[in-house]
């Protein structure tokens, strides 16, 4: 009896497989429209959404096969379409491309200035909900229209989107901007009080070809873009959040005849909120390790007293940047540091009271900044190549 059973099993299994076969939900690679960058703008006349999708043009992409490359043609193709909503626009694109957009490999989403000003709350939902979208996709805001950012043909990369991603992902070198992906943006949107960020990007016309750079960060209040932060202000925020990876601190040399240029090696920051008899104080303690990478004065700074003075000056610079950012945030009446969240975590009950009028309480916050900077290396030179004045 076992014999029959086994034969039945095989035969009918096979029939079932054949009956069900046919690719269930699979899509061949060559009929995929691989999207690597998306731009969202408001259409000038109808006010609907203009979606620009940057699609990989496989023939020109120049893969491994022999005669690929063909320098002339662009390896990408910017398709745009207009729709009532982003998803509607994405589907309308198929009139031009013939295949649904494949957004799993989308690297970056750029929102036009007009869309950002109107408020991203309405536009972000598609990017969080679509199962093909990755939460690690980066968000940027264009100072003008997103579509002309997408056209800037980069020198080194084949695709503009990849170029923009590279610009943002390597923020660590200067810490003048900060990588914001969908999840981070969603976190900030969800917290009523703290501000959301997104790197700004603009086009600079040098000669006939355009190239893009990041002038600073855009700041959002409840999803609406309300202002911009310059590089130093952004770094001020990053100091507090402890997200500064590296960068340059320029400090006037103690003898006033030049500058000492310090590279930031390592930063740790601790923020402790404290409510003392009605006053909200944030104790910010920053430990930073710097290395002397350049000096323009003749006097040798690489001495113990020299280091002492320079460290002190560096501490002042950090304090200035933080205060500048704090002033800017008070000007915008916006909690860009996320102090509200920190208070909420520590003082649960008081936070319930303050939560509603946090915008007017925020300016009354006092910052007790304490910067402890240490110069850890002066690289190759023990003293600058200048004639020896007086003792060592």
């Amino acid at each position: 009896m076992i014999l029959y059973k086994k034969i039945y099993v095989f035969i009918l299994c096979f029939i079932m497989l054949v009956a069900l076969s046919g690719c269930l939900g699979g899509r061949e690679i060559n009929d995929l429209e691989i999207v690597i960058g998306m731009g969202i703008d408001k259409d000038k006349d109808t006010g609907d959404i203009l979606l620009t999708a940057q699609i990989v043009n496989e023939k020109e992409a120049g893969g491994a096969s022999g005669e690929g490359g063909g320098g002339g043609g662009k390896a990408y193709w910017n398709v745009n379409s207009i729709g009532k909503s982003i998803f509607d626009a994405a589907r309308q694109i198929t009139h031009k491309t013939g295949n649904r957009l494949f957004v799993s490999h989308n690297q970056v989403v750029i929102f036009g200035h007009d869309v950002a000003a109107e408020g991203l709350q309405k536009y972000i939902d598609f990017f969080l909900r679509a199962h093909e979208m990755r939460p690690t996709t980066l968000i940027l805001v264009a100072e003008g229209r997103a579509s002309d950012i997408m056209d800037a043909k980069p020198e080194t990369e084949r695709f503009p989107a990849m170029n923009i991603t590279k610009l943002v992902k390597t923020y660590g070198f200067t810490s003048h901007l900060y990588k914001v992906n969908m999840k981070d943006f969603a976190t900030c949107l969800m917290s009523g009080t703290s501000a959301a960020f997104a790197p700004l990007i603009t086009v600079a016309h040098e000669g006939e070809n355009k190239d893009v750079y990041v002038p600073g960060m855009a700041v959002f209040k409840n999803g609406k873009m309300v202002g911009k932060l310059s590089h130093d202000e952004v770094r001020g925020v990053l100091w507090v959040l402890g997200k500064v990876e590296s960068g340059v601190v320029i400090v006037p040399s103690p003898d006033g005849k030049g500058k000492a240029v310090l590279e930031i090696v390592n930063v740790k920051s601790k923020v402790k909120p404290e409510i003392k008899d009605g006053r909200i104080i944030f104790h910010i303690k920053i430990e930073e390790e710097l290395s002397l990478s350049e000096q323009t004065t003749r006097e040798n700074l690489a001495t113990v007293p020299g280091f002492g003075k320079v460290q002190e000056a560096a501490g002042k610079v950090v304090r200035q940047e933080i205060m500048a950012a704090f002033e800017r945030s008070k000007e915008l009446r916006l909690d860009i540091f996320g102090f509200g969240e920190m208070l909420h975590k520590k003082y649960k009950n008081e936070w319930k009271i303050m939560e509603h009028n946090w915008d007017d309480i925020y300016p009354t916050i006092e910052l007790d900044i304490h910067v402890d900077s240490r110069i850890v290396s002066n690289d190759l030179l023990r003293r600058p190549a200048s004639p020896d004045e007086g003792g060592e």
Partner: protein
């Protein structure tokens, strides 16, 4: 006489418990909607609440060696009430099995392979579970430690890969939730992963160990709970406040892994581990269901019932809920309330009555 003298060692039973509980790692997403960043507390509380009951299951199995729940019910409650309680137990098993098959369907339709026909997924999955149960419980027992090993490896490796995105201050405002929400969270958690181990009452009889399954089931549950804890801690630490907006936070946190150009898109690999675990859980449920049914009908072997029961379960799974939202809403309210008496009241009551009436009669002399 137990139908089939299978041989399961104590250690294998422990791994089966652990694998069973890890199988519901995706199910903790139900409670996240309610308990937000205190999910890990709820898991602990759920564990502590259900431990005594799990031990009562083991005590029952020890007291009636070689008998499963259906026969125990008959002995303790007599024919009619016993049969009614067994029917209640079978109803619970079939409903929970269809929920789990539905979960796999939803996991694949929502996340991994969006445009595959839903019914095809369910029926093929049910066919494979039927094959597993057809092979007998020893095959599952022998392979259980492999499932547990893969699950632990996956859970720990994903947590390590996400360490740099973790921010442990996101747990901060502890006990912020109103008590009623915590209670609901604990109630769900103690039923869904831990309470469901009542299915093991149909399996513990195959234990060849004389010392009784209590020790093994306890450690198995601990290992399973530890794995769930790691998952929920990882989710909260990585997603923080956004945890409540995603349909499946544990899946979303895995999609955030972004190290180098290679280790970025791991969601399908985690999908594989998750499918294996739910497969393991479903086959244990199907085995318990078919054995219970065959006991009820007084059959000699459960094997002929496997395929028809699997067929019914697929149809139930496809039609029981209209949408994932409906699924979540019913499970969080009606689902846990209807199964509460079965998991919490019945076993201790059976144990108590058995003690009072000095059952099991047969070995009365050398009993206790």
């Amino acid at each position: 006489m137990s139908i089939e003298k299978g041989k399961i060692s104590g250690r294998q039973l422990m791994f089966m418990f652990a694998g069973f509980i890890q199988g519901s790692a995706l199910l903790i997403d139900f409670t996240v909607g309610i308990t937000e960043h205190q999910t890990w507390m709820v898991i602990l509380a759920g564990l502590i609440v259900t431990i005594p009951f799990i031990l009562s299951y083991a005590a029952l199995a020890k007291r009636f060696p070689g008998n499963d729940l259906v026969r125990i019910n008959d002995m303790v409650y007599g024919r009619f009430i016993g049969k009614a309680l067994s029917l209640y137990y079978i109803f619970f098993l079939s409903m929970t099995l269809s929920f789990n098959i539905l979960d796999v369907g939803e996991l694949y339709v929502n996340f991994l392979m969006p445009d595959t026909p839903f019914f095809f997924l369910l029926s093929v999955f049910a066919a494979v579970i039927a094959y597993a149960v057809y092979k007998g419980i020893e095959a599952l027992a022998k392979v259980s430690h492999l499932f547990v090993a893969t699950s632990l490896f996956v859970t720990i490796s994903t947590s390590l890969l996400l360490v740099d995105q973790m921010d442990f201050t996101r747990f901060q405002p502890l006990f912020e939730l109103p008590f009623i929400k915590l209670l609901q969270g604990i109630h769900i958690m103690s039923i869904i992963p831990f309470g469901e181990t009542i299915a093991f009452l149909m399996i513990m009889e195959h234990m060849n160990d004389t010392k009784g399954p209590a020790r093994y089931s306890f450690f198995g549950v601990l290992v399973g709970a530890a794995s769930l804890l790691i998952v929920s801690v990882r989710n909260t630490a990585v997603l923080g406040r956004t945890q409540t907006i995603w349909t499946s936070p544990s899946f979303q946190s895995i999609r955030l892994i972004d190290i180098g150009t290679v280790l970025t898109r791991m969601d399908f690999l985690i999908g594989i581990a998750q499918t294996m675990l739910i497969f393991f859980k479903c086959s244990i449920f199907l085995y318990a269901l078919t054995t219970a049914l065959s006991q009820l009908f007084g059959l000699k072997s459960y094997k002929p019932l496997v395929l028809p029961v699997a067929g019914i379960e697929v149809i139930i799974a496809a039609t029981v809920f209209q949408s994932p939202v409906d699924h979540a809403e019913i499970t969080q309210n009606a689902g846990i309330i209807y199964s509460a008496p079965l998991i919490y009241v019945l076993p201790p009551l059976t144990l108590l009555i058995a003690k009072i009436r000095g059952l099991p009669k047969i070995e009365r002399s050398k009993g206790k």
